[in-house]
């Protein structure tokens, strides 16, 4: 049976909050001089006496100490007694301090057609100094996300990551689902606002590959300042009906983009004329799921072409 035993009011407190600890030396601790003064040591600080030491009815000695402001996020509090010309550590307690988690924010999700997974990311909020677990939670709902149709799925991110990937087998495409993030540590729990989305409405679409088309002069009469283009939708998303936008500008300093909207997602021969401002033009295309809801793809890499 060990001689000393520490009890703390709360092992984990908010940074700056007080902590009360008591150390009790049992009477049947033969090797110790029962009258010795119980001392305390925080981390490798000085040995200091408690606020109060008293003998309990059962003969054991009890010292109590109050640490007014815990400002170590992690510290060890030891209880000692003088012994020979040194000290003996009788017990040690671990103190942790930090903050309860703030609500995770900026939760956003993208559906990747290449990996067939819905990847969500969020901002964790300020440092809590305590081990804090984030869990991406979701359940299937009906059109208006008002009520829960399935059990809640927990997606646990890889260590320290603020992103989580929900595998295809857990997703029901074309149905709304409710998604949110829960943050939990020893001092509390918080939740992000809830998202209501159909994974297919947040598909990460890639732009088509824009290509120049060689038109042989005998087919089409020569026209100066023109270009013929073709593009095909990005393969993994070709079943998605899309609408595209083309932008082009002459390779001149401070040249502005000209935009051509409402283009089809596939085009074999698209003629662009009136390109007289410079020998070389830069062209880019991007697409969006339409008429169903979706997100714009990024612009395709710049294509630099010489008009006729």
């Amino acid at each position: 049976e060990s001689c000393g035993h520490i009890r703390i009011s709360v092992p984990v407190v908010r940074l700056g909050d007080p902590v009360i600890a008591s150390c009790t030396i049992s009477p049947n601790c033969s090797k110790l001089d029962q009258e010795s003064q119980i001392l305390w040591r925080l981390q490798d600080g000085p040995n200091q006496p408690g606020d109060r030491q008293r003998r309990l009815p059962d003969g054991s000695q009890e010292s109590t100490i109050t640490l007014p402001h815990v400002n170590h996020t992690k510290a060890f509090l030891s209880c000692l007694v003088p012994w020979a010309n040194s000290f003996q550590v009788l017990d040690q307690a671990e103190l942790q301090a930090g903050y309860p988690p703030a609500s995770p924010s900026n939760l956003s999700c993208l559906m990747y057609l290449t990996t067939n997974s819905l990847v969500c990311q969020w901002e964790p909020g300020p440092e809590t100094y305590l081990p804090t677990n984030f869990t991406l939670k979701s359940f299937r709902s009906r059109d208006d996300c008002q009520y829960q149709k399935d059990s809640i799925l927990d997606c646990v991110p890889e260590d320290g990551q603020n992103t989580c990937s929900i595998a295809r087998k857990h997703l029901i495409l074309y149905q709304n689902m409710v998604i949110w993030v829960q943050a939990k540590n020893m001092l509390g729990t918080s939740e992000s606002p809830k998202l209501c989305l159909d994974p297919m409405d947040v598909v990460k679409l890639e732009p088509p590959v824009l290509q120049a088309v060689d038109i042989s002069p005998d087919l089409i009469p020569y026209q100066p300042g023109c270009l013929w283009l073709s593009w095909k939708p990005w393969k993994p998303g070709e079943y998605i009906e899309q609408e595209c936008e083309l932008r082009y500008r002459p390779q001149l300093r401070r040249a502005n983009w000209t935009l051509v909207s409402h283009l089809p997602s596939s085009e074999d021969q698209f003629k662009l004329c009136g390109l007289h401002q410079a020998p070389v033009y830069t062209l880019q295309i991007r697409c969006i799921r339409s008429p169903l809801p979706g997100l714009w793809s990024s612009w395709s890499p710049g294509l630099h072409l010489r008009p006729t």
């Binding site: 067939n116 009906r142 059109d143 295809r168 087998k169 997703l171 029901i172 495409l173 074309y174 149905q175 297919m200 070709e238 079943y239 998605i240 009906e241 008429p291 169903l292």
Partner: protein, 167 residues
């Protein structure tokens, strides 16, 4: 009966295209890997194994009955989801395509079922899977898979026509 909402039609068309794309990938893989490239050469085997074909008679443009068409669509998708089950475990190379196809078919069935619920024409109880053919050899399982996938392809063709006609 109530017309089908445009968003339902557009989503269903997209799902049909998605499944058709993946289903033809599966048929190509079955052809490339096992040299089973002509479903018409497996008709006899299909009869002896009892590989069913889902009817879509109420969805043909000429004899279109919206409510019955919806339920035929749902039961057909439900049947093919089960038949594709036969393909799992054929080979590691095929597994990803089959798994995704099953999920896409199941999700399309859910879209149809939800629409039936919205229109108040959904039966109270979800259908249960009828007994599926059993396969006694790897060849039968592959041939069953080719037949199921090719039946699914023509099933989707009809569905695509109907949905296109309505949108």
């Amino acid at each position: 009966p109530l017309p089908w909402p445009r968003s339902f039609l557009l989503k269903s068309l997209e799902q049909v295209r998605k499944i058709q794309t993946r289903n033809s990938e599966l048929l190509e893989q079955l052809c490339a890997t096992y040299k089973l490239c002509h479903p018409e050469e497996l008709v006899l085997l299909g009869h002896s194994l009892g590989i069913p074909q889902a009817p879509l008679s109420r969805c043909s443009i000429q004899a279109l009955q919206l409510t019955k068409c919806l339920s035929q669509l749902h039961s057909g998708l439900f049947l093919y989801q089960g038949l594709l089950q036969a393909l799992t475990g054929i080979s590691p190379e095929l597994a990803p395509t089959v798994d995704m196809l099953q999920l896409d078919v199941a999700n399309f069935a859910t879209t149809i079922w939800q629409q039936m619920e919205s229109l108040g024409v959904a039966p109270t109880v979800q259908p249960t899977q009828s007994t599926l053919p059993t396969f006694t050899s790897a060849f039968q399982r592959r041939a069953g898979g080719v037949l199921a996938a090719s039946h699914l392809q023509s099933f989707l063709e009809t569905a695509h026509c109907t949905l296109n006609h309505l949108v």
